[in-house]
C-alpha cells in the first residue's frame, strides 16, 4: 500500500473488520481521527520549570534546514534558499533572539555531526525552526498551542494491513546478539583509550494504528517531563516525554543538567543504592567534567558552579544528574551557546568528537530526532532546551523509540541490556 493512497477508504477498510467486535471503541476512534481538530504544537510541564505559559495563535513561518539548503514554509508556500547551514542558521537564531521574537527550535542529532565535521548526507534534516505569528500570554493554561499550517487530520498514520489485528502492536525490538557484539567492539575502543564513555543506543520500531495525539495524551501527565507535541511536517511528528534538560537560560544565568546513572524503581532501596553506586557516580562525574568544558567558554571568570550528584525520581526509573552553571559572558551570541552545548554530552560520551565518530561507525541507522534537542526560545535571556530521550517519533508511517545507555569499562552487558529495556517500558502501555 502506497501511503499516498492511504486515505479515508483504507481507514474504513480497517474499521470494517472491527465493526462487529469493538465497534464502540472504533466509532470513537473514527470520530476522533476524522473530525477532531488536533493541535500542532503543545509544550507543557517541565518547560521553564513549569511556571511559564503562553498560548500561541498562528504560525508565521516554518524553516527546514539541510546542509546546503533551507526551505521556508510561509503563507502556505515553500521557498528554497541555497547556502551553508551554519551561516544561515546562526544568523536567523541570533536575529530572532536579539529582536525578542519567540520561536521553537528542534535540532536533530545529525546537526551535531555537521558541527563536528563528521559525515552527513545532503538529505539529512538538521534543524527546524517554527516562528509563531501572534501570541497572547496566558497564565491559567499550562501549554503552548499553535494552530495553522498543518491539519493533523491529514497525518500519515502507521500502515496496518486490513487483515491484521488492529489493536495488536508490532514492536520490533533490537537484536540482543548484535547488541552484545557491538558492546564488545566498544570495549576495545575504551581499553585503547579512544573513548572513556560512550552513549550507545538502539531503535525500537512500533507499528500500531494510533494517532500521535493519542500517544501524547497517554504520556502528557508527567510533571517531571518536557512534554511536547511537535509537528515537523505531515508525516513527521515528535512526541516528547523526556526528563532531561540540555540547558536553561534565565537572564544571564546558564545551567546544564546532564543525566547519567539509572536504576529501576522496582528494586528495593533504589535511592540509596543509586546514590552509593560507584559505577554510576563515575559515569556522571565524566559527563559533568565534559559539561564544565562545554559551558566554560561561554561564562564569566570564577562563576563556574557544580552541584553533584542530584537524585531524580521518575515513574519507572530513577536517575542521577548534576547541575553545571555559570554567569554568561555579556557579548555571547545565542549561536555560540548552541555550538558549544549541542549535542548534549550525556548522549554522546567523552571525549565528544571521537566518541561521536565511533557512534556513527557502530550504531545502525541514524538517530534523527532521538537525542536531538527541542527548545523554546523567548528572547535572549529566556531559553529552555531539552534532550529528546524517551520520546516517540512518527516518521514514514512508523513510530520509532530510541533507547540506550552510557557504556564504560565497568559496564556489564546483561545489566546494560536490562537498562535499555527498562527505559522502553512505556511503549508497553500504548
Amino acid at each position: 500500500m502506497d501511503f499516498e493512497k492511504f486515505s479515508k477508504n483504507d481507514l474504513i477498510d480497517i474499521i470494517c473488520c472491527y465493526k462487529y467486535t469493538e465497534s464502540e471503541l472504533l466509532d470513537y476512534k473514527k470520530n476522533i481521527y476524522e473530525n477532531f481538530e488536533f493541535p500542532t504544537y503543545i509544550f507543557e510541564n517541565k518547560w521553564f520549570s513549569g511556571d511559564y505559559y503562553i498560548n500561541v495563535i498562528n504560525t508565521q513561518a516554518i524553516i527546514y534546514f539541510y546542509s546546503n539548503d533551507l526551505f521556508v514554509l510561509y503563507e502556505g508556500k515553500f521557498k528554497r534558499l541555497k547556502g551553508d547551514f551554519w551561516e544561515i542558521y546562526s544568523e536567523i537564531i541570533n536575529f530572532l533572539t536579539e529582536n525578542n521574537i519567540l520561536f521553537f527550535n528542534l535540532n536533530l542529532y545529525e546537526m551535531g555531526n555537521y558541527l563536528f565535521n563528521l559525515y552527513i548526507k545532503k538529505t539529512d534534516l538538521l534543524s527546524v525552526i517554527v516562528v509563531p505569528g501572534e501570541f497572547i500570554k496566558k497564565y491559567n493554561e499550562r501549554y503552548f498551542i499553535v494552530k495553522g499550517v498543518f491539519k493533523s487530520n491529514n497525518i500519515f498514520l502507521p500502515k496496518v494491513k486490513s487483515n491484521e489485528i488492529l489493536y495488536s502492536k508490532y514492536i520490533n525490538y533490537p537484536n540482543k546478539a548484535v547488541y552484545k557484539k557491538n558492546l564488545n567492539k566498544i570495549r576495545r575502543y575504551i581499553v585503547n583509550g579512544y573513548t572513556y564513555q560512550i552513549n550507545y543506543t538502539e531503535r525500537i520500531f512500533i507499528n500500531k494504528y494510533i494517532h500521535p495525539y493519542d500517544i501524547f495524551e497517554k504520556v502528557r501527565n508527567n510533571q517531571n517531563s518536557y512534554s511536547a507535541y511537535f509537528t515537523i511536517s505531515k508525516n513527521r511528528i515528535v512526541i516528547s516525554d523526556s526528563p532531561e534538560r540540555l540547558f536553561i537560560i534565565n537572564n544571564d544565568k546558564i545551567k546544564a543538567e546532564p543525566i547519567k546513572g539509572t536504576i529501576s524503581t522496582k528494586i528495593p532501596d533504589y535511592c540509596k543504592k543509586l546514590m552509593n553506586s560507584n559505577k554510576d557516580l563515575r559515569e556522571l562525574s565524566m559527563i559533568t567534567d565534559l559539561l564544565r568544558n562545554d559551558i566554560s567558554s561561554l561564562i564569566q571568570k570564577n562563576t563556574l558552579n557544580v552541584k553533584y550528584p542530584v537524585l531524580m525520581k521518575l515513574r519507572e526509573v530513577a536517575h542521577l544528574y548534576s547541575e553545571v552553571s555559570g554567569k554568561l559572558n555579556e557579548d555571547i551570541l545565542f549561536s555560540d551557546i548552541i555550538k558549544n552545548l549541542f549535542p548534549g554530552g550525556s548522549i554522546t560520551g567523552v571525549p565528544k568528537k571521537m566518541t561521536m565518530k565511533i557512534i556513527s561507525h557502530i550504531e545502525k541507522g541514524k538517530r534523527k530526532i532521538y537525542t536531538g534537542s527541542l527548545g523554546i526560545v523567548n528572547s535572549n535571556n529566556n531559553i529552555d532546551y531539552n534532550i529528546l530521550i524517551r520520546s516517540f517519533y512518527l516518521e514514514k508511517n512508523k513510530y520509532v523509540y530510541g533507547t540506550g545507555g552510557g557504556i564504560t569499562i565497568s559496564s556489564d552487558i546483561e545489566e546494560e541490556w536490562k537498562e535499555l529495556i527498562n527505559k522502553s517500558e512505556k511503549i508497553q502501555n500504548l
Binding site: 575504551i190 583509550g193 579512544y194 567534567d289 568544558n293 571525549p351 564504560t408
Partner: protein, 196 residues
C-alpha cells in the same frame, strides 16, 4: 617575564573535551589563552614568541593521534619557554625522551586516585598524597632517558603520575588537574605559571 603585559599561553588541543576547562582555569588566573588544534601548523617566529608557555591538552587515542604536538614542544624548547603536558600531553613528552607506553592494568576513566609526590615546584601548595582524577588507559611504563625525572606516582599499583625534564622546562602530569573531582588541581596550573 615582562610584567607590563598579561601572560599568554598557547594551548594545543588534541580534539579533547577538557581543553576549554583548562583555558577557563587559566582565565581565572588572569592569563590569556589561545587554543589551536593539534594539526594546525604555524611556525611563524613572531606567533610563537608571543607566548610565555604552552600546554599540551589531553586527548583520545594514543601517540598516533597527536598531530603536530612534538613540533610545538621542540619549538618551545628552542625559545626556552615552559611546556606542560596533561594526560596525552604528558605521554607525548615522556615518549619524546625514550618513554615507553603500555596499557594500564585497567582503564582509569573518571577514577580519582591518590597521588604521591616529592617536593617539586609543580606541587607547591598541595600535600602528598593528593586526590586527582585520571582519564587514562595507557601509562608510561619505563623511561630510558636519565634526563626525565619522575616527580609523582601512585601506589598499588605503582604508576608514573608526573615527570619533568632536568634541563628543559618540560613538565607532564598523567592526571587531570582541571577535573572537578581533583582536589586543588588549580595549584598545578598556578605553579606551572611560576616557571615562566
Amino acid at each position: 617575564m615582562d610584567k607590563a603585559r598579561a601572560t599568554n599561553i598557547l594551548i594545543i588541543d588534541n580534539y579533547d573535551s577538557f581543553t576549554q576547562t583548562i583555558s577557563y582555569y587559566l582565565k581565572n588566573l588572569e592569563v590569556n589563552t589561545t587554543i589551536i588544534k593539534n594539526d594546525f601548523f604555524n611556525d611563524n617566529v613572531e606567533f610563537l614568541n608571543s607566548f610565555d608557555g604552552c600546554i599540551i591538552s589531553p586527548g583520545p587515542g594514543n601517540l598516533l593521534n597527536i598531530g603536530l604536538c612534538e613540533f610545538y614542544i621542540n619549538k618551545f624548547i628552542d625559545i626556552k619557554k615552559p611546556v606542560l603536558g596533561i594526560c596525552l600531553g604528558h605521554q607525548i613528552i615522556a615518549s619524546l625522551y625514550g618513554g615507553i607506553l603500555k596499557k594500564a592494568d585497567h582503564p582509569y576513566h573518571g577514577e580519582t586516585r591518590k597521588i604521591y609526590f616529592n617536593d617539586d615546584v609543580l606541587f607547591d601548595g598541595l600535600k602528598s598524597p593528593c586526590v586527582m582524577t585520571c582519564y587514562n588507559s595507557l601509562i608510561i611504563d619505563e623511561c630510558y632517558n636519565h634526563d626525565i625525572q619522575i616527580t609523582a606516582w601512585t601506589k598499588n599499583p605503582f604508576h608514573i603520575m608526573a615527570v619533568k625534564h632536568k634541563k628543559h622546562k618540560l613538565y607532564g602530569v598523567q592526571f587531570h588537574p582541571e577535573s572537578f573531582l581533583s582536589e586543588g588541581g588549580e595549584w598545578i596550573l598556578k605553579n606551572f605559571l611560576k616557571m615562566i
